[in-house]
């Protein structure tokens, strides 16, 4: 088992969250470090997929006034409110390798297992044979889109993930939708869909995330230990936040 770092952060502003993930991607790319990070957002925030046009946000009235950031990962926009986000950064040998794509499945299969342990039967979306190609016009929100590997509960997408692949490292982002947000009222989360299966006292706390990291570690061959972001990474995140994720040149680039 290789050693790897587990970070469970306090809620941070949108640009800071993205800057830390990019600093961690650099650590994977340059130093070969593997990090699994769980975090939430200090205020309800909208993250655009890397290739989305920022003006599209005005087509979605419930989220048009919340903070916005552009991710470096692809896919649709996400309203980060009642949810957990994860990032996984790890070195890779070849960005076209099946091992890289397999990361999606490992994360999602283990999470389906966790949900089953809580009494919830979620499934991994598999499109029909003639529906593999993405439609010409995708919905603005990621959780209204369907792609192979997404986790569905009662037909609703509750988990989606996307990757940024560099030459020697990958960043995988994922969102776990817990509850409906007034900024995306069309989306239901796990607790909205669970009915009476989950007791009101149940929550997704740090212990739940540590349990998931243990399952992931066994599948991926990592021994995750709780750690911290280094001073060097914090400084790099400062720079990335200022130069990229708070800059209009990045956020409004499309």
């Amino acid at each position: 088992m290789k050693s790897a770092r587990l970070l469970i952060d306090q809620p941070l502003p949108a640009a800071r969250n993205m800057a830390i993930d990019e600093a961690l991607l650099e650590s994977a790319n340059i130093e070969g470090l593997t990090t699994l990070r769980f975090y939430q957002w200090a205020a309800p925030s909208l993250s655009l997929g890397y290739f989305q046009k920022h003006a599209e946000r005005y087509t979605h009235a419930p989220s048009r006034n919340i903070d916005m950031v552009r991710r470096s990962t692809g896919g649709g926009a996400i309203v980060h409110h009642h949810e957990w986000t994860y990032s996984f950064t790890t070195p890779i040998v070849d960005r076209t390798s099946r091992h890289v794509e397999q990361l999606f499945w490992t994360f999602h299969e283990t999470l389906v297992g966790m949900l089953a342990g809580a009494g919830l039967t979620a499934n991994i979306y598999e499109p029909a044979a003639d529906q593999n190609a993405p439609p010409a016009a995708e919905p603005f929100l990621c959780f209204l889109r369907r792609a192979r590997g997404d986790i569905l509960l009662d037909g609703h997408k509750i988990v989606g993930s996307a990757q940024r692949r560099r030459q020697r490292a990958v960043l995988q982002h994922g969102g776990i939708l817990l509850k409906k947000s007034p900024h995306a009222p069309e989306l239901l989360g796990i607790f909205d869909l669970a009915g009476d299966v989950l007791a009101p006292s149940v929550s997704v706390d740090h212990n739940t995330l540590i349990d998931w990291s243990s399952l992931l570690g066994r599948r991926l061959g990592f021994d995750f230990s709780t750690g911290n972001i280094s001073v060097d990474e914090q400084q790099r995140a400062d720079h990335i936040e200022a130069e990229k994720f708070t800059a209009d040149a990045w956020t409004l680039r499309r």
Binding site: Y50, F51, G74, E101, P134, S161, R165
Partner: protein
């Protein structure tokens, strides 16, 4: 262009070298193998004509349904031409990655990176080992 006649970067870009009036010109694209692995391309972002690129630097990005991947140039130089029509016709990359799906043409300023390129047989071997 025939795949056997191209050179390949370990990062899956192909290179075709030709002689221009002021030196070598490198045409770059993404290998058929990489296109197949990335699958279902949805967006591409390429540099502007005139931009100067360093060897090994990212010159663009390509998005498939689940991932955004950086594209890397193995040679340094100035971007002479960009296949700008690809953005609205990504199927071209799927249909003809080694021909009409070319990405950019570079006026090579430093050919040191050419020494690291693989011929078709060596590249095929790398692809098999990577999986």
């Amino acid at each position: 262009m025939k795949p056997e006649e191209l050179l390949y970067a370990p990062t899956h870009e192909w290179v075709f070298l030709s002689d221009g009036p002021d030196g070598k010109i490198a045409t770059l694209g993404v290998s058929a193998f990489a296109v197949e692995q990335l699958s279902d391309l949805v967006f591409i972002d390429l540099p502007e004509v005139g931009q100067t690129l360093k060897a090994g630097a990212s010159f663009g990005e390509i998005e498939s349904v689940k991932s955004v991947s950086d594209l890397y140039t193995p040679v340094a130089g100035e971007v002479l031409e960009v296949n700008s029509g690809l953005a609205d016709a990504l199927d071209t990359i799927n249909d003809d990655p080694h021909g009409a799906g070319w990405l950019i043409k570079i006026k090579v300023s430093d050919d040191a990176g050419l020494a690291n390129l693989l011929d078709f047989a060596a590249y095929q071997k790398q692809c098999q080992e990577a999986q």
